[in-house]
C-alpha cells in the first residue's frame, strides 16, 4: 500500500495513538460508573473514535476505519443511553481499541488485518443481539488463528518469554533482536493475554495453575501494553514557556560570551571574574532548564496500570483495588521509559502472586478486595516508587529453603542470613523456575531481571515483607541519568568517578590498624567494619594495573610492592618491633635505597583508603590510592573500542579538561568474581576461622603494655583501665607523703609500681603517663612511661617466677618478659583505708555457719590461683576444678556444700556453657548460682551464656566486680 504523504500519515498516527491512550482509561472510568453514565466522558471517547475514523478514511486505511466505525456505533448507543455499559461490553471495546492501536502502529499493513473477530461482537452489541456466548465463540476462533498482521516477529519473543504457557501458537523462529522486537511486541503482548483469557480452559485448569500464574507476569515484563509513551519516542512535547526561558538563557549566554571575549582582550581581571561568575550562573540555569525538558510525569507509566490490574484481576478471579498516588512526580525521560518493564512486572506480581484469592482472603479475615498501592514521591533528591499490596507476603524461610534445595545456597549460609537477606534471595539469578516458587511464595519470577534493569538505571530495590500481611517493594531512582553526583578517587595516578548512589561510606584505616582490621581468607581480603566483614577489592588489581600508593610526603605516586594488605609478617604492634627486624627487612630490598627508619607500613601513606560501595544486595570495599572530592559530573559514553571494558559506566571530563572514567561497581564486583553469595561465603569462612582461632587460643587476654623504668616491661589487663592521661612531671604534687595530681576537679592519688614491688624506679622523664583505674569506687592513677600499646595475648601467664607483692605474674610478650601488675593489690596496700568499709561487709559469715564454698572451674592455673586468691582472702572456701568434667564431679562429691560456681568458658573436655547447661538441667543443682568468667565478653557470648543459664558474666581479673557479685549471691543464699 502506498501512502503519499508521509508527514500527514505520521501526524495521523501520533494523534490517533494519543486518542487511544485516553480511550483506554476513559473506558475504564465508564465501566466503573456503570449505568450512571457520564455523558461528557462518553462523548470524549466517541469523539476520539470518530476522529480516528475520519483520519483513517482520509488516508485510505479502510480496516482501521471500519473498526473505529463499529466502535463509534457502540459508543453512540451508550451516549444516547440506549445501552448500559456492562463490563462485557467495555471489554469488547477495550479489545477493539487494542486492535486499533496495533493496527495504527503498523499502518502500512493494517489493511490486511482480519478484524472480523472484533466486528462481530461490536455489531452484535449495536444490533442488540449481543450475548456473552455470542462473543466468546468468535473471539476464540479469532485467537486460535493469530492475526495475520506483522507481529510475526513479535509473536516470537512474546512466546519465548512465556515458555511455560501452553499457548496455541508454537514459538516462531529465532528471537529477533530485542530492541526491535520490543516496540512491536507491546500491543501484541496484550493480545497474548487475551489469548489466555480466550483460551479459558488453560487458565482455569488447576493442573497447570502454577505455569499459568507465572506466564502473564513473565509476558508482561516485556510487554509494553497499551500505555501511550511506552516506546522510545523520537519527539517530545515541551511547554512553550519552558522553551522561552531556554531561549532567554541562550541569549544571555551569547551576551556573556561577548563580554568574555572583550575582557580577554583587555587586562581587566576584576571584570573577567564578574563575567566568569555570570557564565557560571547562566550555565547552571541552562542546565536546569534543559533537564526540565526531559522531565516527564511518572503518570505516563502509571496510567496503564489500571487496565493491567483490571485485566489480570479479572482473569484470576480476584477483586483488586488499585490506588495510584503521586502521578505528577517527574523523572527523566530515559528513566520513565526504562522503568516501564520492571514496574509492570512488579505490579503483575503483586496482583498475581501477592494478593490471595477472595475466598482465601475471607478465610483469614481480610477484606475480599485486595489492595495494591502504587506510589511515587520525592525523597532526598531521589524518586521513590513503592508498590505495595496487602497480600500474603513473602516467607523468608521458605525462600531460603527453596534456594538451598536449588543448590544456590548452602544450608550454613542460609542459617546465618537475616530475614531481610532471605527475602532478597528472590533477586538471585536462577532462583526460581515457576512452579516451586509459586508453591512456596508465589514470587521470584524473573526478579533478577527486574533488579538488573533497575541497577542499570542506578536504582535501588528494597523489599519489605511481612508474612501474611503484604509486601512493599520500594524502588529508589535518581531524578536523571545525565548528571550524577560522584565521588572522585585516584588509583595508579588516574582519577576515577564512583556514582554516589553506589557509595555507602568512605573508610580510612590508619596504618597502625591495617594489620588488625584487614584479614585474609583464602586469597580474599576482608575488613572488619562495625562487627561485619566486608570483602575488599583492590581497584588496581581488578582493572589490571600496577599497584601504587600515594606518598603524602612528596605527593608522588609510587609503586606498591606489598603482596597483600593483611600483612602478617609480624602480628605484634609496630611499636615493639625490634630494630634488628627492621634492618633485616630493609637489607632484603636491594633495589631500593635505604628508607627512613620507619617502615612505610607504619607511616600515614600506608593507611588504606576504602570506598565502601553497594550494588543491590552486595556491599564491598574498594581499595583506592586516594580519596578526592565529590563532584557533579556529566556522563559521556565511551567509544565502541572500549565497550569490552566492563568496569566502566562511561567517562566524564573533569575541571582541568582531562578525562576520568566512571566505575561500574556492579561489574567490578563481577570482574573480581565477587557475588553477594561469595561475600557471605567469605564472611562465614572468616567467622569460622575466627571461631577456630578463638578455640585454639582460648583464653585471650587484652593487655595494656607500658614501661615504668626504661628497661622493664609491664602490663595490666586492659579492661581494668579507665583512661590514660598524658601529664608532665610538674603536675605531680607531693602532699602528706602521698603523690596526687589534679584530675577532673579533684585529686587523683598516684602510685608507682616501685612503691610496692621491688622493681627499678620510675624513669626520670618530664612527660609521664597516668593510667587511671577505678578501684573501690575511687580513681587511682599509676605512673608510667610510654610507649604504650594494647595487645591481645594468650594467657600463658607464669605466676611463680616473678610473682611478688604488686606483681601477679609474668608473660612473654614480643620476646620481653612483661610483668603483670596487680593494681588492686597495690591500691589495697597503699590505701588500706579505702577498703576498710568493704572488708567489713565481706567478713560476714557468722559463728557456727560454715564459710561458703565456691567451686572454681578454670583450666588456666594462673587464673585459677588468682580467683582462688580473691575468694580465700575474704574467707570463703574454695574447691578447684580444671575443667567442666572435673567441676561436674566435684559438684557431686561436695553436693550441698557448694554455694556457687565460678566457671571459665573456654575449657577442655567440657566448656563453661555445657557445664552450665548440664547443671541447669539437673534437679539437685539446678538453682546453683553460676558466674561465668571470660577474657573477652562479646555480646554473643553473653547472650549464649544467658541462654544456657549463666547468672552473671564477668571479665577475668576484674576482681572488684566479681567479688561484689559473689558476695551478693552468697548473701542471697544464706
Amino acid at each position: 500500500m502506498e501512502i503519499e504523504d508521509d508527514e500527514i500519515l505520521q501526524g495521523f498516527i501520533e494523534e490517533s495513538l494519543e486518542h487511544l491512550a485516553d480511550i483506554e482509561n476513559d473506558l475504564l472510568a465508564i465501566e466503573e460508573r456503570g449505568a450512571d453514565i457520564d455523558e461528557d466522558l462518553v462523548n470524549k471517547v466517541f469523539r476520539a473514535a470518530h476522529s480516528i475514523k475520519g483520519g483513517a478514511g482520509f488516508m485510505g486505511l479502510t480496516t482501521i476505519q471500519e473498526l473505529s466505525h463499529a466502535t463509534e456505533n457502540v459508543l453512540g448507543l451508550i451516549r444516547s443511553k440506549k445501552l448500559i455499559p456492562t463490563p462485557e461490553i467495555i471489554n469488547v471495546l477495550l479489545i477493539a481499541s487494542d486492535q486499533l492501536q496495533s493496527m495504527i502502529e503498523d499502518v502500512h499493513n493494517s489493511n490486511e488485518v482480519d478484524i472480523s473477530a472484533h466486528l462481530v461482537p461490536l455489531n452484535a452489541i449495536a444490533d442488540g443481539t449481543y450475548s456473552q456466548s455470542a462473543v466468546d465463540a468468535p473471539q476464540r476462533a479469532a485467537k486460535a488463528a493469530p492475526p495475520p498482521e506483522p507481529p510475526a516477529p513479535a509473536k516470537a519473543p512474546a512466546s519465548v518469554e512465556s515458555k511455560p504457557v501452553p499457548l496455541a501458537e508454537t514459538p516462531a523462529p529465532p528471537e529477533p533482536p530485542a530492541t526491535q522486537a520490543e516496540s512491536i511486541v507491546e500491543a501484541e503482548a496484550d493480545a497474548e493475554d487475551d489469548d489466555i483469557e480466550a483460551n479459558g480452559d488453560n487458565i482455569e485448569d488447576d493442573s497447570t495453575d502454577a505455569n499459568d500464574f507465572t506466564a502473564p507476569a513473565r509476558g508482561g515484563s516485556r510487554s509494553k501494553t497499551a500505555g501511550p509513551p511506552a516506546k522510545t519516542e523520537t519527539t517530545l512535547r515541551v511547554h512553550v514557556s519552558l522553551l522561552d526561558s531556554l531561549m532567554n538563557l541562550a541569549g544571555e549566554l551569547v551576551l556573556s560570551r561577548n563580554q568574555l571575549l572583550q575582557t580577554i582582550g583587555s587586562d581587566d581581571l576584576r571584570n573577567a571574574e564578574a563575567v566568569g561568575q555570570r557564565i557560571d550562573l547562566i550555565t547552571s540555569e541552562l542546565q536546569e532548564a534543559i533537564m526540565l525538558t526531559r522531565m516527564q510525569p511518572i503518570g505516563n507509566v502509571f496510567s496503564k496500570f489500571p487496565r493491567v490490574v483490571r485485566d489480570l484481576a479479572k482473569k484470576l478471579g480476584k477483586t483488586i483495588d488499585l490506588t495510584i498516588v503521586g502521578k505528577d512526580v517527574e523523572l527523566d525521560k530515559t528513566i520513565i521509559e526504562a522503568i516501564n518493564d520492571p514496574l509492570t512486572h512488579l505490579v503483575r506480581n503483586s496482583v498475581d502472586h501477592g494478593i490471595e484469592k477472595p475466598a482465601d482472603r475471607k478465610r483469614i479475615g481480610k477484606s475480599e478486595i485486595g489492595l495494591v498501592v502504587l506510589k511515587a514521591y520525592h525523597e532526598a533528591g531521589q524518586v521513590v516508587i513503592e508498590i505495595s499490596d496487602d497480600g500474603k507476603g513473602l516467607d523468608g524461610e521458605a525462600l531460603a529453603a527453596s534456594a538451598v534445595s536449588k543448590g544456590l545456597l548452602s544450608p550454613e549460609q542460609a542459617q546465618v542470613m537475616s530475614d531481610k537477606e532471605k527475602i532478597n534471595l528472590i533477586f538471585l539469578p536462577g532462583f526460581s523456575t515457576a512452579k516451586e516458587v509459586t508453591d512456596v511464595s508465589g514470587r521470584g519470577v524473573g526478579m533478577d531481571v527486574v533488579k538488573t534493569n533497575l541497577d542499570q538505571l542506578g536504582g535501588h530495590v528494597d523489599i519489605i515483607s511481612t508474612k501474611g500481611a503484604g509486601t512493599t517493594i520500594s524502588i529508589k531512582l535518581p531524578l536523571t541519568l545525565a548528571i550524577i553526583p560522584c565521588q572522585i578517587i585516584e588509583t595508579g595516578g588516574e582519577r576515577y568517578a564512583i556514582p554516589q548512589v553506589n557509595l555507602e561510606e568512605l573508610l580510612r584505616i590508619p596504618a597502625a590498624q591495617v594489620q588488625n582490621r584487614v584479614e585474609r581468607v583464602g586469597d580474599a581480603e576482608v575488613v572488619r567494619l562495625r562487627g561485619t566483614l566486608l570483602p575488599l577489592i583492590r581497584l588496581a588489581d581488578v582493572i589490571g594495573i600496577e599497584r601504587t600508593y600515594y606518598d603524602l610526603n612528596n605527593e608522588e605516586v609510587k609503586p606498591d610492592r606489598r603482596e597483600n594488605t593483611a600483612d602478617r609478617r609480624s602480628k605484634e604492634s609496630p611499636l615493639f618491633r625490634s630494630q634488628n627486624e627492621q634492618d633485616k627487612r630493609q637489607g632484603g630490598r636491594n633495589d631500593h635505597p635505604p628508607r627512613s627508619v620507619l617502615d612505610r607500613r607504619n607511616s600515614a601513606s600506608s593507611a588504606l583508603n576504602i570506598v565502601v560501595v553497594s550494588t543491590g544486595a552486595m556491599k564491598y570495599g574498594l581499595i583506592v590510592d586516594r580519596l578526592l572530592d565529590s563532584e557533579e559530573i556529566v556522563i559521556k559514553p565511551l567509544g565502541r573500542h572500549l565497550q569490552q571494558c566492563k568496569g566502566y559506566a562511561g567517562a566524564t571530563i573533569m575541571g582541568d579538561g582531562r578525562i576520568a572514567l566512571i566505575l561500574d561497581v556492579a561489574n567490578l564486583a563481577r570482574m573480581a568474581r565477587l557475588t553477594s553469595l561469595d561475600g557471605s561465603d567469605r564472611a562465614s569462612e572468616v567467622a569460622k576461622a575466627e571461631a577456630d582461632a578463638l578455640r585454639a587460643q582460648k583464653d585471650r587476654q587484652s593487655l595494656l603494655i607500658f614501661k615504668s623504668s626504661e628497661t622493664e616491661h609491664f602490663a595490666v589487663p586492659l579492661n581494668q583501665v579507665e583512661r590514660i592521661e598524658k601529664i608532665s612531671r610538674n603536675d605531680i604534687e607531693d602532699l602528706g607523703g602521698k603523690r596526687v595530681m589534679k584530675y577532673r576537679g579533684g585529686s587523683l592519688s598516684l602510685m608507682c609500681i616501685d612503691d610496692m614491688a621491688s622493681v627499678k624506679p620510675l624513669a626520670d622523664h618530664d612527660n609521664l603517663l597516668v593510667i587511671v583505674f577505678n578501684i573501690a569506687k575511687r580513681a587511682v592513677g599509676l605512673l608510667a612511661i610510654g610507649p604504650i600499646d594494647a595487645i591481645e595475648v594468650n594467657a600463658d601467664i607464669d605466676d611463680v617466677t616473678l610473682s611478688q607483692p604488686g606483681i601477679m605474674g609474668s608473660i612473654i610478650i614480643d620476646q620481653h618478659t612483661t610483668m603483670l601488675v596487680n593494681v588492686y593489690e597495690m591500691a589495697q596496700a597503699l590505701y588500706p583505708q579505702w577498703f576498710v568499709e568493704r572488708e567489713k561487709v565481706v567478713f560476714e559469715p557468722e559463728g557456727d555457719v560454715k564459710a561458703p564454698t565456691i567451686l572454681i572451674a578454670e583450666d588456666s592455673k594462673f587464673f585459677r590461683n588468682q580467683v582462688k586468691g580473691y575468694m580465700t582472702e575474704v574467707g570463703y572456701d574454695v574447691v578447684e576444678a580444671e575443667d567442666g568434667v572435673e567441676a561436674w564431679d566435684k559438684l557431686h562429691e561436695y553436693g550441698d556444700q557448694i554455694t556457687m560456681l565460678v566457671t571459665d568458658i573456654e575449657m577442655p573436655n567440657m566448656n563453661g556453657f555445657d557445664l552450665t547447661q548440664r547443671i541447669r538441667q539437673d534437679e539437685k543443682f539446678g538453682k546453683l548460682p553460676i558466674i561465668a568468667l571470660t577474657t573477652l565478653a562479646s555480646a554473643e557470648d553473653v547472650a549464649r551464656g544467658q541462654a544456657v543459664g549463666v547468672n552473671e558474666y564477668h571479665i577475668k581479673l576484674d576482681k572488684e566486680r566479681l567479688m561484689v557479685s559473689v558476695h551478693d549471691y552468697v548473701k542471697r543464699r544464706h
Partner: protein, 152 residues
C-alpha cells in the same frame, strides 16, 4: 559507509592525506579526516585493547585514540617524538589514529592503484586496500573502516 574502493569507483582522483606509521607511508581519503591535532593529554583506560592508547577530551567529546602502529603491527608509536592524532569520524563516534608524522596531501588517480603486494599481506595486509605509487615513493592506502572495526 563507503570505503576508498567505492569512492574510487565513483571518482577517479582522490586526495590522500598521507602520514607515517613507523617507517611506512600510509594514506587515506582526506574527506574522512575530521582534523589532525597533537593533543596528548590522554587518560589511560586499563583493560582496553592494547592498541588503544587512551581517551582524549576533544572539546567535550570523548575520543578513543588508537595507536595505528600497534594496530597495523608496525610497533608502538613513540609518544615522545611529537606524534599526531588524526581524528576520524566513524559510526561509533570520533576515533583518533595516533601516527608518527603527518606528510603531504597527494592527489591520487584511483585507477592507478595497485593491489597490496604479497609482502603486505600477513597481519597488516588486511588493513590496506592497495598501494599507490608516486614518483618516488609508495603509499599504502588504508582501509579506515577495517582499522576502526574492533572485532579482532
Amino acid at each position: 559507509m563507503a570505503d576508498s574502493r567505492s569512492i574510487g569507483d565513483s571518482k577517479r582522483i582522490v586526495e590522500l592525506a598521507t602520514f607515517f606509521v613507523g617507517d611506512a607511508l600510509c594514506g587515506m581519503d582526506i574527506l574522512k579526516v575530521q582534523e589532525i591535532n597533537k593533543l596528548m593529554q590522554m587518560t589511560k583506560v586499563p583493560q582496553a585493547p592494547d592498541y588503544v592508547v587512551g581517551i582524549l577530551n576533544l572539546r567535550g567529546q570523548i575520543v578513543t585514540i588508537i595507536d595505528l602502529g600497534l594496530k597495523l603491527g608496525l610497533g608502538a608509536t613513540d609518544l615522545s617524538q611529537d606524534p599526531r592524532n588524526i581524528i576520524v569520524n566513524s559510526s561509533g563516534g570520533a576515533v583518533g589514529l595516533l601516527v608518527r608524522k603527518i606528510s603531504d596531501v597527494v592527489s591520487a588517480d584511483m585507477e592507478r592503484r595497485e593491489p597490496a603486494p604479497a609482502n603486505m599481506r600477513g597481519i597488516q595486509g588486511e588493513y590496506f586496500t592497495g598501494v599507490y605509487k608516486t614518483d618516488n615513493t609508495l603509499i599504502g592506502i588504508l582501509n579506515v573502516d577495517k582499522v576502526l572495526s574492533f572485532e579482532d
